[in-house]
Amino acid sequence: MVSTVWQNPVLLIVVPLGLAFFTPIIGLIRKELVKYIPILGMLFNLTLSLFLLPKVLDNPIIVSLSGWKPPFAINLFVGPVGILFSILISLVGLLTAIYGINYIKKGAVEKYHMLFLLLLTGATGIVLTGDIFNLFVFFEILCISSYALVAYNQDKNGIEAATKYLIQGSLGSAFILLGIGFLYGLFGTLNMADIARNITTVDSPALFIAMALFITGFGVEAAIFPLNAWLPDAHSSAPSTISAILSGIAIHIGIYAIFRVLYTLFGFNSIFTVLAVIGIVTLLIGEMSAFRQENIKRVLAYSSMGQMGLIIFALSIGTVDGISGGLFQIITHTLSKSLLFLCVGYMVYSTNSMELSSLNGLGKRMPLISLLFTIGVFSLIGLPPFIGFPSKLSIILAGLKTGETLFLILIVLMLLATVIEGVYFFRIIQILYFKEPDKEERFKTPFTLLFPVIILGLLIVAIGIYPGLLQEILDRSAEIFWDKLSYIKIVFGG
């Protein structure tokens, strides 16, 4: 018994949570220790998730809490998708935490690290839980800590963006809660597998309305058009570490929640066509808005919005191939966008300006950071040999495989969006390398800032060259993510 306790997946949530609670006491003992706590928590999560991955690929693990069987108590559903997300969260969390050691100096530093850790805990909780209300609770943890962190700089932009985000996010949360209330009224249970098991017994428009409420509510966090007005402000005025987490993790968690609910709970397959169209619209609007921006962080924020559209499109194709491509694109975007935000964070920190013109000739002044920035950009556009190439390719192939005219049109639009994306990103590259710098002096980058960015860059190249490493895991994850019947079967055993 004792020997297996250390591999219980519930520790992925509980250990970082406990560390966050314990932080004030550590802060009283020694102030400097506080900034290493998120690193410790995320290192633990990364190790445990990597250890669990081969196990859950064969059989997802069901963890009951409080000692009762589902549906009477909350249970965790630890499948390959959950662990895949958990690895991404802890990897990017770890690297960003290392980056944050020297980056975060002003303000309530201790509270920053606590909120940072809690945000990641909330994200991990969402992807692992198998209970709809528990999902809501972790969703609130994720959202509320991100509202506070967006306002961390205490400048006017930050407070304004956080207020906007807070109002829209709370409305979204209220919608989700209402949806949960409807489901509970219809089925008398909150366990997702239990609801999924009984969903065919009820034929009521209330079911459809509950689904609409879920899509809208989670859609605010996932930045689906037209629910994304908060995103460019929030992502651009937060500290860069937080932008990296919000763009790299938080919005994907919103997408995960939407599709977990759609795949597992509801059986309306027609909604996927609508979502695919919305996804492409989000993609086009995001890329076109990014095109016009003069502020580097806003460019990245709008590009995140566009990428969300692409991921939603891929997950709405409604085949295992499509889901696998969507998950691949999530990995691409997480790695590339956090790389970009961390690079830009350092550029903005050194040049003290977010305007594109202030980046003139930085390629000569900080060659390594600029090179890594270029890798991130190329990967987002989808150029080989970076990770973005195989992921975008697999989405296109999955779409073509359906053979439907609608998907053919949507894919053409998607390629058009990629061209727009390429144009504005190449403009930035041109500014970096082919404009004359204002000054000649070079910047010296501290190691703690450089290390995370290099690791991300290496991962992007490595997976880009050997996509086969991931493909098998992704296909298996997609299969389990899509298969509702096996989800029910695994939770209730037999």
Binding site: V14, L28, V63, F72, A108, T121, A148, A206
Partner: protein
């Protein structure tokens, strides 16, 4: 134009939600899960208050999450208000009645709050409610003595310890019972103070933590 569009949208949402609510058979007899709680709750947990038994045992993980949300609220406020200086000059001294009254009432309010969370597994009430009552005690003492400060350090230690111990009890359940938050202590006799296993312990921790957090929030906002 904008107003008309938002009005139309609101009407659509209203109709949708009204439609859904009118269709859902609330309170009908299909609540198999809640029936299980009602029939087996006392036996399985030893707490005579079924609500408490659901909140802290069957769905204890949610409660941990809600506790975290409140905690985030408190620190989030600290982040946003960081560095604001207390003025403290133009505060008028309150009247003698408020002064004496708050001194007199403070211990009783604390006592009442503690009673609510200690009896949470027997009677209505519990940690969140008890914590709110305790915080109201601090509010009245603040009104009586606006210049007096409670130690912020103390609040941090209390809320940090409350949360950490909650998780440690849960982990102990994982270690000894095989499940996180499983009820490892003996259930005791129903309807006595020492019953319900870990439930009263958790409620005491929640009560203290919530009390400290809300008191901290009150003091921060008052300044």
């Amino acid at each position: 134009m904008k107003k008309i569009i938002s009005f139309v949208l609101l009407v659509i949402i209203f109709i949708g939600i009204y439609f859904a609510v009118s269709q859902i058979p609330y309170g009908k007899d299909k609540m198999s899960v809640s029936k299980h709680y009602l029939n087996n709750g006392v036996k399985e947990n030893g707490a005579s208050n079924i609500v408490t038994s659901v909140v802290l045992n069957y769905r204890g993980f949610d409660t941990l999450g809600e506790l975290t949300i409140l905690f985030i609220g408190a620190i989030g406020l600290g982040v946003v208000l960081f560095g604001f200086e207390t003025k403290g000059k133009d505060i008028k001294s309150p009247s003698l009645i408020l002064n004496a009254g708050s001194t007199f009432l403070f211990p009783f309010i604390l006592l009442f709050g503690i009673y609510i969370f200690i009896h949470g597994h027997l009677s209505p009430g519990g940690g969140f409610q008890g914590g709110a009552v305790i915080a109201s005690g601090f509010l009245i003492s603040y009104l009586g003595y606006p210049k007096k400060r409670i130690s912020e350090k103390g609040i941090h230690i209390v809320e940090s310890l409350g949360g950490t111990l909650f998780i440690l009890i849960g982990l102990l359940g994982l270690l000894l019972g095989g499940y996180f938050l499983s009820n490892i202590l003996p259930k005791g006799t129903v309807n006595t103070l020492v019953s319900g296993g870990i439930i009263p312990l958790l409620y005491v921790l929640i009560g203290i933590k919530v009390g400290a957090e809300l008191a901290g929030i009150i003091y921060k906002l008052m300044e």
